[in-house]
Symmetry: C2
Subunit: 195 residues, 2 copies
């Protein structure tokens, strides 16, 4: 109901909690973080993204975060700060990436282009931010994969259609939080006032 409906293409985000990697590049499942959902949902709502899919196979995590969403959408939180509910209404909880794809395809009647985001550029298909902006304006839908912990597992990156370039500044340091990376990516793809 608070969704943006336009003739243009759309951007959905999937925040992946399994499979991701830890510091030693081992495959792990991470815990869902309250603040990730708030920060990324608020940025998604600001820039008109379509949905924020929280991907975790763990039932206890799914139950916990469905309760948290209810608090902000219908419970005391909705009275306290309606703007949070407006943002968090974009959040959907899914078991895995396949479920996300199926839901988006059913909703948009089109398979999205799936792009992974990662801090290192090593993929045969790299979409520039400008190219994605252009395709959105032409009606294409995109699903962007965001990794928690130390980043997306290679199998998730490989399951997509390409990657977005890493976000870098003047030097080689690019250890952004997933919250900061999501905000910058949404601004680059959907923002209007950078000039």
């Amino acid at each position: 109901m608070t969704r943006r409906v336009t003739g243009k293409g759309s951007v959905d985000l999937a925040l992946i909690h399994y499979p991701v990697i830890n510091k030693n590049r081992e495959i792990i499942g991470s815990a869902v973080t309250n603040l990730d959902l708030h920060d990324i949902a608020r940025a998604a709502r600001t820039f008109g993204a379509n949905g924020l899919y929280v991907v975790t196979p763990y039932r206890d995590q799914q139950i916990l975060f469905r309760e948290l969403l209810e608090h902000w959408l219908e419970g005391h939180g909705a009275q306290y700060n309606a703007m949070r509910g407006e943002a968090l209404s974009l959040v959907r909880i899914c078991d895995d990436l396949e479920q996300v794809r199926t839901r988006i395809a059913a909703e948009r009647q089109q398979q999205p282009v799936v792009l992974a985001t990662c801090a290192r550029e090593k993929h045969p298909v790299v979409w520039s931010y400008g190219a994605v902006r252009q395709k959105i304006s032409e009606g294409k839908n995109f699903l962007l994969l965001l990794g928690t912990a130390w980043g997306l597992a290679q199998e998730v990156i490989d399951a997509g259609d390409g990657i977005l370039p890493p976000i870098t500044g003047s030097g080689s340091y690019n250890h952004l939080s997933v919250r900061s990376a999501a905000a910058i990516i949404l601004d680059r793809l959907l923002g209007t006032g950078a000039g």
Copy 2:
């Protein structure tokens, strides 16, 4: 030591915890948030900002966060994840805005242009992102004021030389977290790969 030294101008950030406003637009002091420091310092380090000034007059908060910084700069945290120390080395704790200005002026031998950031545009002097980028390339220094809680108190906005435009997307919703706003602003002013 990890600071960026170039012939160009610089950007410093001040994260203000007093005076800020609450939901009812009353003046309050907010608690320093661990994650604000981590997220904003990591973005500052990525984009080559000069320093992140944490502004709070409360001694107990100052002591607590000096200990936290020590953990990451010299303690166990430095061994566990050296990248965090590299980012958090940009953090300085100050009592008030005057102290921040004095430290920057002493360090850079130049008074910075002080710009407030806020979600609503109502100030006689609004600097575009493009104009600030241009001035940075010409050697000008900027100090950007970021508000915690529900935003900067009017007196802090008035104490600066102007404001940056609010960050907006396609609609009227622009309730970003200060962490997301800081990341986007740094990317707009110092980022290189948005094309």
